[in-house]
Amino acid sequence: MIEWCKVLSYSLTNGIRVFMCLLMVVQLLKSSKVGRSALWLSWLLGLLTAILLPISNLGIKAMEVFAILIILYIRFHCKLRICTFLTLFYEIAVELWDFLFSTGIAIILHNEAFMDNTTFEYVVAVWLVRLLMICIAIFIIKQNDKAAKAFNRLISIISVIGMFCILVLTEQSLILLPDAQLIKWVILSVILLMSVLFYKLNHQYEMERELARLKTEQIELIESEYRRLNRVYSVNAKLYHDFHNHLDALYFYISHGQSESALCYIKDLRTPVEKITRCIWTGDDAVDYMISSKIAVAEHSGIRTKVSIDFPRHTNIKSTDLTAILGNLLDNALDAMVEPSISPYFLYLTIRRINDMLIIKVENSCVEKVMIGDADIKTTKADTELHGWGLKSVRAAAERYDGTLDISCENGVFCTVVMLSFEAI
C-alpha cells in the first residue's frame, strides 16, 4: 500500500517538475502558453519515471531529459540546441534545490532523517519544493504579458539565492555533510549561475543582431532610391546647362520651316522633366519619386496600374518608414509578376486616411500557390536568406506606429494591407 502511495507521490512530484520545465522553456523561447495537454504529458512522464526509478537513477534522469526534449521539439517546435541547454541546467537546479530544502529542514528541525532519500521526511521536503514550483507556475501564467520578463528576473534570483544557501551550508556546523557532496554542489551552483548569465548575454546578442539586420536592409533600400533620384535630377541639371544649345537647334528648325522636327526635338527634351513633375502623391519627394518610378516600371511591362492616394500632410510618419513599407510592398508585387501563368497582370495601390489611421493597400495578381504559413509568407524567391526580410521590415515599420500588416491571397488577387496610427504635428 505504502509502495503504491510512494509511487503516486513521486509521479506527481516528477510530473510537476517536468511541467515546470516545459513551462519555463516555452515561456523563454516562445513567449506562448503551454496547453492543458502539457499537464497530462508531464504527469504521464512523471508516472513513468516513478515506476522505473529503482532501475538506475542516472539512467532514468537521462531518459526523462530525452523525453522532455522530444516533447518540446515535436509539440512546441523549439530549437533543439537551446532546449537541451535549458533542460539540463533546469534539472541541475531542481536537484540543487531539492538538496537545499531537505538539508535546510534537517538543520532547522535537527532531524537527519530529512536528508535520507528513502524516508518519508525527504518526500515532504521534495513536496515543499514542488509547492513552491506550483506557486511560481501560477504566478507566471497569471502574469500573461510581463511573464517573460518576470521569469528572467526569477531565474536570476533563484540561482543567486541557491549559491548563497550552498555557501551557508558549507559554513554551518550543526549537521556534518560529506565534503565531496558539498564541493560538488558548490561547483554546480556556480556553473548554474554562469549558465544563467550566458543565456542572458546570448539572448541580448540575438536581439541586437536582428535589429542590426533590419536597419541595414532599410538603409540599403533608402540608399538605392536616393541614388536613383539623384541620377534623375542630375540629368535635369544637364538639360538646363545645355539650354542655349537646344535653343540654337530649335531656332534652326523653326526658321527653316521644319516645325515637325522642332516638335519632336522638344518632346525628346521634355521627358526627364515630365518624369519628375508628373505626380505629387505623398508630398515627400523621395517617396513620390519611388512610387512613380515603380509604377512606371510596371506600366512599361504591360501591367495595368491604378494609384489612388490620399496622404495627409504634417504627420509623424517618418520618410524612412514610408519608404520601407511602400518600397517593399511594391517590390514584392512587381517581383510576383514574372510568373507567366497570371496574366492579365494588375497592380493597384491605394492609400487612404481613415480617422487618425493610414491604410495602405497593394493588390496584385498572384499565383495561387503562395504559401501563407505560420504568419509569414515563405519566400518563393531563390535567395531565402535576404528575401522574406522585406515583409519583416514592413511589419517592423508598421509596429512603430501601433500598426500591423495583413496578407491575403484569394481569387487570384494578392492583397497586402498595412495600417498605421499617426499623430498630427
Partner: protein, 248 residues
C-alpha cells in the same frame, strides 16, 4: 431580429460661386451615385453665406459638402472651421485649381481635394468613396425593446458596448447610454456585423468609431480610451486592418 434594412439618404450640399460649375458638379455627383445605387439629396448654393446660415441658424443637416476652395466671400477653409462643432461628422470635398493641396493631418473633416484639371474622374470617385463611408453602418439599426420603450440605434452611432455585471450590457452611443438585459456575447451575435469586435472580455468596440490605436489603447471618436487585453491586441489590429482593407 434586430436587423432592419434602413433607407439611407445621403444629404449633399454643393456650393460654388459660378453657376455653371455648380451645375457641372451636380451632374457628376448624380451620375456617379446613380451608378452605385446610392440614394442622395442635393442642395445647391452659389453664395457660401447662405449655406452657413442654413446650417448654423436653421439647423440644416448635411452628410457631404462639395465646396470650391477659392470662393470670394468666405473661403472653403473658413467654412470647414466654422462647421466643426455643429456638424462634426460632415465630410468635405474641396475643388481646387491648384494641384498641391493636401489634407492636413489635423483636419479630420477634409475628405479629399479634387483638382479642377482632373474633375470628372476624381470627383466621381471621391463622391462615391465618401458616400460609401457615410453609408457604412448607417443601414442597420439595433433595436432595444423593453416593456416601457423601444429604441432603434443605427450601428454607426454605437461607440462601444460594455459588460455590466453578469448578464447585462451598456451601449454607449452618440445620443447617450442605453442599457440592455443581454450578455455581451448575445449583443454581439445580434449585431452580427463585421465592425463590432471584442477588444477585451468586457468590451465590444465599433471599428468605425476607432480613431487610432495608441500603445495598447483604442482611442474612439468621442475621446474615450479603452485598453485592449494583451492577448487580444494583435488580433484586434488584424481585424481593424482587414475591415478597412475591404472598405477602401
Amino acid at each position: 431580429m434586430n436587423e432592419k434594412a434602413v433607407l439611407v439618404l445621403i444629404k449633399i450640399a454643393i456650393c460654388d460661386d459660378k453657376e455653371d460649375a455648380v451645375a457641372l458638379h451636380e451632374k457628376i455627383v448624380r451620375d456617379s451615385l446613380h451608378q452605385c445605387g446610392i440614394s442622395y439629396d442635393i442642395t445647391t448654393y452659389t453664395v457660401s453665406k447662405n449655406l452657413l446660415y442654413d446650417i448654423m441658424e436653421d439647423g440644416f443637416f448635411y452628410d457631404l459638402l462639395l465646396l470650391d476652395i477659392e470662393m470670394p466671400e468666405i473661403s472653403g477653409m473658413q467654412i470647414s472651421e466654422k462647421l466643426k462643432h455643429i456638424l462634426p461628422n460632415v465630410k468635405i470635398i474641396f475643388v481646387t485649381s491648384h494641384t498641391e493641396y493636401a489634407i492636413d493631418a489635423y483636419e479630420l473633416s477634409i475628405f479629399r481635394y479634387i483638382p479642377k484639371s482632373n474633375l470628372e474622374s476624381k470627383l466621381a470617385s471621391g463622391v462615391v468613396d465618401a458616400a460609401k463611408l457615410i453609408e457604412l453602418g448607417a443601414k442597420q439599426e439595433y433595436t432595444i425593446k423593453t416593456s416601457k420603450r423601444m429604441e432603434r440605434i443605427p450601428y454607426k452611432d454605437i461607440y462601444y458596448i460594455q459588460r455590466d455585471g453578469g448578464k447585462n450590457s451598456i451601449l454607449y452611443t452618440s445620443t447617450g447610454i442605453s442599457k440592455v438585459r443581454k450578455t455581451l456575447q448575445q449583443v454581439h451575435t445580434e449585431l452580427s456585423a463585421q465592425e463590432f469586435i471584442f477588444i477585451d472580455r468586457s468590451y465590444i468596440v465599433n471599428i468605425i468609431q476607432i480613431m487610432k490605436i495608441c500603445n495598447n489603447t483604442v482611442v474612439l471618436k468621442n475621446g474615450v480610451e479603452l485598453a485592449v487585453s494583451r492577448s487580444h491586441l494583435q488580433e484586434v489590429k488584424q481585424q481593424i486592418n482587414k475591415f478597412w482593407g475591404t472598405h477602401i
